[in-house]
Symmetry: C2
Subunit: 203 residues, 2 copies
């Protein structure tokens, strides 16, 4: 397979991916913002989140800043600013801020150094816990603990579920296709010999 | 936070998740099928895919079978059988097949031992490459190489992108909410000082 064909093809196989902007700052205060489609839930207690990065490409500024400062923000991308989010993947220079270049406004919170994306309605601060090298293809699996969550209260349901569809959070397929979602339903915890019940039909 | 509330809340933070059924077989030929929402693309060359599992819960049969046989299948879940896919997360016994219990038909391919899900229109065989223990919360990151892909040809575009939306592939938010997707558009590779162009508007 030709390189680009292969990239598109293999990137489609894992299914829909999350769309998140990772905000960081270097020790001089330069802000950086980069889109990642590999953010994955690792566990609720402790609250751990991971993502995959390739250190030799455009995301090296993110990596440098995270290893230097040990903290970053993760900001869900919604339909209202997904084009700007996509544009952060262009190769800007270390001293150039993707916030400025893509017209995404920063937002700072007391006690948290790295910048949030103001436009994001669900975002959180993360402290670096571990960088796991994946030797098979020289990528890194970056694991952090969620310390502070900023969310639109109106979409948090009584059981803790956050209705990210109501936030217009997008998802990605392949390398470059952006999608909104359409809820089918929520299903109850599965038990043997029992049909799963519809838990909530929020849609 | 109460345990279940916390699980729902933290599971919502990473954004939309992929929905995949992982098919395995033990050395006696017992088939197992389990749904995972943590399958993540790791790289195109070699074609690597990872997923997270907690060895102490219902997915231990999957783990045992993978470490024993070194191979498994990953099957994208579509709207047509997502309830059955969800039901595979019930705690069945080792000798019980989730295929039978959830009325999902197996499909076998020459030279590949583990079972595929016949109903899935995009599925692939994977060879185990590495099991990385995540000590922070005693989970495992399972990495495999994709060896064989079975896909509906009509949804593979000329640039290699697979239109998984046309397959009705679902995605998950939180622990239990299932969604179909609605494409906004595909964007061209981002370059500094250039607006991303619409690549394809397949929707």
């Amino acid at each position: 397979m030709e390189v680009r064909y292969r990239a598109n093809f293999i990137n489609s196989l894992s299914g829909f991916k999350s769309a998140n902007l990772i905000g960081t700052q270097d020790s001089l205060g330069n802000c950086n913002l980069a889109i990642f489609s590999s953010v994955v839930h690792l566990g609720a207690s402790p609250a751990l989140v991971g993502f995959v990065m390739r250190p030799d490409n455009g995301s090296r500024h993110t990596l440098n800043n995270i290893t230097e400062t040990k903290c970053y923000t993760i900001n869900q991308v919604s339909a209202g600013f997904f084009k700007q989010a996509h544009q952060t993947s262009a190769r800007y220079l270390q001293q150039e801020s993707e916030f400025e270049k893509t017209y995404l406004e920063t937002q700072f919170m007391d006690g948290i150094a790295p910048p949030f994306v103001r436009a994001s309605r669900l975002k959180y601060a993360v402290t670096l816990k571990e960088v796991i090298p994946i030797k098979l293809n020289s990528t890194l699996f970056i694991i952090g603990e969620i310390t502070d969550v900023i969310s639109d209260n109106t979409v948090i349901k009584s059981d803790g579920y956050i209705d990210i569809e109501a936030l217009n959070t997008v998802n990605i397929s392949g390398l470059d296709s952006y999608h909104t979602s359409k809820r089918i339903l929520r299903l109850s915890h599965a038990k043997p010999e029992t049909e799963p019940k519809t838990l909530f039909n929020l849609g």
